[in-house]
C-alpha cells in the first residue's frame, strides 16, 4: 500500500508537533522517519496509523482518503515502542488476538488460527514460547512477538515506533538485520521511527529526516549522506567537522585545500573521512597537532587540534583505515598537516 500525506499539521496545545508535512511513500519501501527527540516523528507515525488525527491535512492510503477512518479499520500493523503486549494473555493468544476479534463472518476457524499463529512464531523464530506470558520474556523476544502479533492480521502497512529503542546494543544489531531480511521476504510497506541515524542508514531503503515538525530531506541513505540538503541534515547524519569562514583564518583554510574552489556558503561541513593527514614535513597542508585517537573497528578516528583557532571549532576529527594510520607512525603531540578533500557548503 502506498502512503500519501498532504499538508499534515498537528498541534498539542501551543506546541506545533508537525507543520505542513507532505510525504509520499511508494509501495514496498522500508522507510525510516529519523530525527531528534521531539521532532514529531512519532506523531507522524501515529497519524498514519489513525491513533492521532491531524488538525489539517489528509492521509491517503493506496490513493483512498483515510483521514477520518478509525485505526481498527485501516488495515495497519502497529508495533509499539514498549511492545504493548497483552499482559494477561499467553504469547499464542496475543498473536491470535487480531484474528479472534474479527467479525464472525470473517473470523477464521480455531484450527486455522492455530496454524497461522505457529507459522508466525516460526517466522520470528520463537515457536517454543507459545505458552509463556509476556512478563516472562526478554526485551528482544517481546519485540519479535509484538511484530508477529501485528503481522497476524496481514496489514498492508507495518508501522514501528522506535522498534529497537529499548533493547541493548547487541540484540539491537541482530534485530536490525532480521527486520531487513523480514522486509525482503514479505515486501510489506514498512515505516519505522528512530532517533538513531546509524539504525536508519543501516535498515531503511528510504530515510525521511525530520526536525521541529518539518521534513528536512527525504531520500536513499547514500543520497542523504553524500548530498545533505542543509546544515541540519549534514550535522545530524554522520559526523561532521564544521568550519566557519568568518572565524577560521583563511590562510589555514587555503593551505588545507578547502578554498581551491570558490566557497558556496559561510560554513564548510567536512566528513571525517574527507580529511587526509600527512606528516608535517612532507607536504603542504594546514598544520595541526595530533591529540588522541580511537579505534572504531576497521577505521581509526583521529582527534586533531588546530592551535591557530580558539573555541569549539579547534578540535577536528579525521577518519582513516587502520593500515594508513599505522604507516604514518604517529604519537600523541606530533605535528601533522591536514588536507581537506571535499566539503559541503551551507549558509
Amino acid at each position: 500500500m502506498s502512503i500519501l500525506l498532504n499538508n499534515i499539521s498537528k498541534n498539542f496545545g501551543k506546541f506545533a508537533a508537525l507543520y505542513d508535512v507532505s510525504l509520499e511513500i511508494p509501495e514496498g519501501e522500508l522507510v525510516a522517519l529519523l530525527g531528534p527527540s521531539g521532532c514529531g516523528k512519532t506523531t507522524l507515525l501515529r497519524i498514519i496509523a489513525g491513533l492521532e488525527t491531524p488538525d489539517f491535512g489528509r492521509v491517503l492510503l493506496s490513493g483512498e482518503d483515510k483521514t477520518e477512518q478509525h485505526v481498527s479499520r485501516r488495515g495497519i500493523g502497529f508495533v509499539f515502542q514498549h511492545y504493548a503486549l497483552f499482559r494477561h494473555m499467553t504469547v499464542f493468544d496475543n498473536i491470535a488476538f487480531g484474528l479472534r476479534v474479527k467479525p464472525r463472518k470473517e473470523r477464521p476457524t480455531e484450527a486455522f488460527i492455530s496454524k497461522k499463529v505457529h507459522a508466525l512464531l516460526e517466522l520470528v523464530q520463537l515457536d517454543w514460547l507459545a505458552d509463556r506470558f509476556p512478563d516472562q520474556l526478554s526485551g528482544g523476544q517481546r519485540q519479535r512477538i509484538a511484530l508477529a502479533r501485528a503481522l497476524a492480521v496481514e496489514p498492508s502497512v507495518l508501522l514501528l515506533d522506535e522498534p529497537f529503542g529499548a533493547l541493548d546494543a547487541s540484540v539491537r544489531k541482530d534485530l536490525r538485520q532480521w527486520l531487513r531480511n523480514l522486509h525482503q521476504e514479505l515486501h510489506v510497506t514498512s515505516i519505522f521511527v528512530t532517533h538513531d541515524q546509524e539504525e536508519a542508514m543501516e535498515v531503511a531503503s528510504q530515510v525521511v529526516v525530520l526536525n521541529q515538525g518539518r521534513i528536512e530531506q527525504q531520500g536513499a541513505p547514500a543520497d542523504i549522506y553524500d548530498h545533505p540538503a542543509n546544515a541540519f541534515v549534514s550535522k545530524f547524519i554522520g559526523q561532521t567537522n564544521i568550519f566557519d569562514l568568518s572565524e577560521t583564518e583563511s590562510n589555514w583554510l587555503q593551505r588545507a585545500g578547502i578554498l581551491a574552489e570558490k566557497p558556496q556558503g559561510i560554513f564548510a561541513h567536512v566528513r571525517p573521512h574527507h580529511i587526509d593527514i600527512v606528516k608535517a614535513e612532507e607536504a603542504s597542508g594546514s598544520p595541526v597537532t595530533l591529540k588522541d585517537w580511537q579505534h572504531l573497528g576497521a577505521t581509526i578516528r583521529v582527534e586533531l587540534f588546530n592551535p591557530q583557532h580558539n573555541g569549539a571549532g579547534a578540535t577536528l576529527f579525521a577518519e582513516m583505515p587502520n593500515e594508513r594510520f599505522r604507516e604514518l607512525n604517529l604519537t600523541k603531540g606530533d605535528r601533522v598537516a591536514v588536507h581537506i578533500k571535499q566539503a559541503h557548503w551551507f549558509n
Binding site: G50, L51, V71, S72, R87, D135, A146, R149, A152, V153
Partner: protein
C-alpha cells in the same frame, strides 16, 4: 552458619509482625473461640439453628453480597471516570469518595434513614413513582451497605486503572478490535483481580457493619435483623455464650467466603499470567 539476607532486618520485622498479629488479631479471636467452647455441641447447634438466628444470617450475608456486587459496579464506573476523564471538580469528587470512611457510621445511618424513610426526600419520591419502600426493609440495608462499600471498590481499582498501560488499548484497536472488544478482552481482564479485591473488601465490611444499618433497617426479626444486632441483643441480655456462638459462626462463614474469594483471585491472577 547463618546466611545473611540481602534485605536486612528480616528477624525483627517478622517478630514484630507476629507480635502484632497475636496482640490485635489472634488473642481476641481465640478468646472468642474459648468463650464459645463453654457451650456443649448440642447447645451450640440449638442456638445456631434457631430460626431467628438463621434468618439474620440470611439477611446479613444476602444483603452484604448484593450490596458488594452493586458497589462493585458503581465503584468501577466511578473509578473509571475519575481516572480516565479530566473534568472540573475532579479532585473535589475524588475527595468525596473517602467520606464514608471518615463519617461515623451511625451518622451515615441516621442520614440515610432520614432521606429514605417513606416521608423522606428520596423515600417519598420512590414510594410515589415506583411503589418501593427502602427504609425499614432489607433494601434499606442494601442501600446503607452500598454507601459504605463503594469507597473500598473505588480505592482498590483506581491505582490499577491508573497504571494500566493504555498502549495495550491502542494495540488492540490497531488489530481491529471494536471498543467493546477492547473493554471486555483487554481492559476488564486486567482490572478484574483488583475489582474482586474491592468487592470482597466491601462484602467483608458489609457483613460486619452495624452503625449505619440499624437506623435504616427497621430491625424486624426474621426480616431485616442483621447478625451484629442479634449479637448485641444477646449481650444486653447477658447471654454471653449465645453471643459468642453466633459471633464464632459468623467469623467462620466470613473466613470461608474470603478464602473462596482469595482462591478465585489466585486463579484469575494465574490465568492472566500475573504470577
Amino acid at each position: 552458619m547463618t546466611q545473611s539476607n540481602i534485605m536486612p532486618g528480616f528477624r525483627p520485622a517478622l517478630a514484630y509482625t507476629l507480635f502484632y498479629l497475636c496482640l490485635v488479631v489472634l488473642i481476641p479471636l481465640s478468646t472468642l473461640v474459648f468463650k464459645s467452647l463453654q457451650l456443649s455441641w448440642t447447645d451450640y447447634l440449638e442456638i445456631i439453628s434457631n430460626t431467628r438466628v438463621v434468618s439474620s444470617f440470611r439477611v446479613s450475608f444476602g444483603t452484604s453480597l448484593i450490596a458488594a456486587l452493586v458497589a462493585g459496579l458503581f465503584g468501577f464506573v466511578i473509578a473509571w471516570v475519575l481516572v480516565r476523564y479530566p473534568f472540573p471538580g475532579k479532585r473535589f469528587l475524588d475527595a468525596l469518595i473517602d467520606l464514608p470512611f471518615a463519617l461515623p457510621t451511625a451518622v451515615a445511618g441516621v442520614i440515610l434513614a432520614t432521606i429514605f424513610q417513606p416521608s423522606g426526600l428520596l423515600g417519598k419520591w420512590l414510594m410515589s413513582s415506583f411503589g418501593v419502600q427502602v427504609a425499614y426493609k432489607p433494601l434499606g440495608i442494601v442501600v446503607a451497605l452500598i454507601f459504605i462499600g463503594i469507597p473500598f471498590v473505588v480505592r482498590t481499582i483506581e491505582p490499577v486503572l491508573q497504571e494500566f498501560d493504555t498502549t495495550m488499548e491502542e494495540a488492540a484497536s490497531s488489530l481491529g478490535a471494536t471498543r467493546l472488544q477492547v473493554f471486555t478482552q483487554v481492559i476488564f481482564p486486567n482490572i478484574f483481580p483488583a475489582l474482586l479485591t474491592g468487592v470482597s473488601l466491601a462484602f467483608a465490611r458489609g457483613v460486619g457493619e452495624y452503625g449505619s444499618v440499624i437506623f435504616i433497617a427497621g430491625n424486624l426479626p426474621y426480616v431485616s435483623e442483621i447478625v451484629p444486632l442479634l449479637i448485641i441483643t444477646k449481650l444486653e441480655q447477658y447471654q454471653y455464650a449465645g453471643a459468642t456462638a453466633i459471633a464464632l459462626t459468623m467469623l467462620l462463614v466470613s473466613f470461608l467466603l474470603l478464602l473462596i474469594v482469595n482462591l478465585l483471585q489466585l486463579w484469575a491472577r494465574r490465568r492472566s499470567g500475573q504470577i
